[in-house]
């Protein structure tokens, strides 16, 4: 595969270091992106997919492999905490892309999802380890936890998983809920441009 090796390019937006963009080349492994002390980040992958992280997120790209010739590859990531949006590219058109969270495994074929994960650190305070996944578009999305899976093909539906419990059935989400989450993935008002 061409372009092997980790290649992160930090492209800082103007003077706002919090608006960072990581460009993944054909291969990426065990790269941690932590925005708990910074603002939004977007990773742009070589298969034309992207991963946007809201402030306060912690994600590890366990594996990203892409062969431009066959337009196939693999993407596995772990979301420890935070909010992210995945917009699918060539890889997810052909196979599921997987995201591990503290309470579930999320797989998506094609399309666009939002994942909101609460980290293990909150477990001691109660309510930790909850994962909420919104399916915005695509072929299907499945959430697996506690040995059981729930899948949805209906847009604007969410599946929730609490640590140690089975995932919920898909439920509709409103435009207002989506808007709140999308706002967290945009720059604060008074952007640099």
């Amino acid at each position: 595969m061409a372009g092997m090796g980790v290649a992160n390019v930090a492209a800082t937006a103007a003077d706002r270091s919090s608006r960072e963009l990581l460009v993944a080349h054909d291969s990426m492994r065990d790269e941690r992106i932590d925005t708990r002390d910074r603002g939004q980040v977007q990773l742009l992958f070589a298969d034309q997919s992207s991963l946007s992280l809201a402030p306060g997120s912690d994600v590890v790209i366990n594996e990203f492999l892409y062969d431009p010739q066959t337009q196939t590859g693999n993407l596995i990531a772990t979301v420890t905490t935070g909010l992210l949006r995945y917009v699918g590219g060539e890889i997810s058109k052909k196979k599921d892309v997987a995201f591990y969270t503290p309470s579930a495994v999320v797989s998506v074929r094609g399309g666009i999802i939002l994942i909101k994960a609460e980290g293990d650190a909150r477990l001691g305070q109660g309510g930790g380890g909850k994962t909420e996944v919104l399916f915005l578009s695509g072929d299907r999305m499945c959430v697996t936890a506690n040995g059981q899976s729930q899948c949805t093909t209906k847009f604007a539906t969410a599946i929730t998983s609490e640590r140690g419990e089975s995932p919920s059935a898909p439920v509709p989400v409103t435009a207002e809920t989506i808007q709140v989450l999308l706002s967290n993935l945009q720059a604060d008002d008074g952007g640099t441009d």
């Binding site: 492209a11 937006a13 103007a14 706002r16 608006r19 963009l21 460009v23 080349h25 939004q40 977007q42 742009l44 070589a46 034309q48 997919s49 992207s50 946007s52 949006r85 917009v87 699918g88 590219g89 094609g110 399309g111 666009i112 915005l136 578009s137 072929d139 299907r140 899948c151 949805t152 093909t153 209906k154 847009f155 604007a156 509709p172 989400v173 409103t174 435009a175 207002e176 989506i178 808007q179 999308l182 706002s183 993935l185 945009q186 720059a187 604060d188 008002d189 008074g190 952007g191 640099t192 441009d193």
Partner: protein, 472 residues
Amino acid sequence: MTQNGRYRNASDRCAGARLPAGRPPGASRRGLFLIRLAAAMLWLSSSAAVGQPTPAGTELDQQVIALFQQLLKDPTNVDLNFRYAEAAVKLGNFEGAISALERLLLYNPNFPGVKLQLAELYTRLASYNTARAYLDQVESAPDVTPQTRARVRALRDQIERATSPSKFAVNLVAGLRRQSDDSAEPAGSDIVAGGIPLTLSSVILHKPGWDAFLGGNLAHTYNLGDVTIESNALVYYSKQFQFSSIDSAAIEVNSGPRFDIGGSGASKIVSLRPYALASEVALGNSQFLWSAGAGLSADRPITERISAAGFYEFRSERFANVAAVPTATDMNAGVHSIGGNLSYQILENGNLGLQVSYAIDQARRSFASNDALVVRANYAHSFQLPAEFGAGPLIISPVLYRIYSWNAAANPAAAPTVIPVTQEWRFGVTGELGLTDNLAATAHVIREVIGSNIPADRSNDTQVIIGLRLSY
């Protein structure tokens, strides 16, 4: 002698056929015809891809890849992101365009134009609540221009229509047809239809002729959640220039619920649709045939590229004697049809179809009863034309039929000692050029070669059709 061609296309997606009995006693002209409304959707539905996205491997596809490579080197370049998004949309890669535009919001959220474009893209993906979320953001932004507010209203209206449980779709085809052997049939069994089809067949006059025709389908769906009520009204009218006795008009309605077994989406085992139907046909400005019946269709995807469907249908048909067919009531019948089809996307922009159906026509008079087998293969290929051409895509669809028919008994008035058996080859090609998102120009050429153990029933016909198709 008479060529008595009776072609059946059975409901919902599958083509069927039956060829007929010999001429009933007393038939007064060389063409005994039967006009058949049926359900099987071929021409309109198979090529209803006006305004399709550009397939992969084209020049535009390469352009998008080149722009993306530039983006990897300069991902914060606003102009480059816009150019990539525009090209990706043309390619049908809406997710890529969304990714680029949402990237811009990472740097500046005060960009109502970008949010409006995102709302439009999510609308095209049918992700309506996400589109509404962006529209809410656009409207809440300060200093939104009246033009932007107007676009927001228009898009909200579009979303409301799209999310309404009640939806209508219209397909209309109008055109001119030239036949070397004039008949009442439009152009084989796959000319006019639209979700639900019709087949008009088949008067062979052994004379060339022209006619103008209009065919269409009004489809209505009402979403009740897990069940959708699907209804169709199909109309057809043909005005002959020389032979007014075969002017024909027809209407058929069918309705029934569609529901999935085994859940929806990927877990679905099969989608079922029981339905009831009724039709009325006029020939030469006289009432000629009415029918009523019911059927069951089933379909399911096999793989990502292969899908299968099947059907069973029963119709009770009642004819009226008309001047051209004074003994038409001999053909009163109960007709059982069964069939199936496979659709295989063998290329990114090419689809292969194979259909088989069998019909048993149990008529009031044994010589009018028959069995028929139809095998149909077709291939549809979509060609994206260069952007400067200003139209497209161009969809070319060759089709090949093999039709067999066996009558139950000899016709005492025609050939008393010979039980009619016919075999037909039918082959042709349809071309459709998208002119706008809703309008396409169509052309259709088909050749029919009918062989029979009764010499007078043998015939050939070449049909050429040009027309326009409107979809909404």
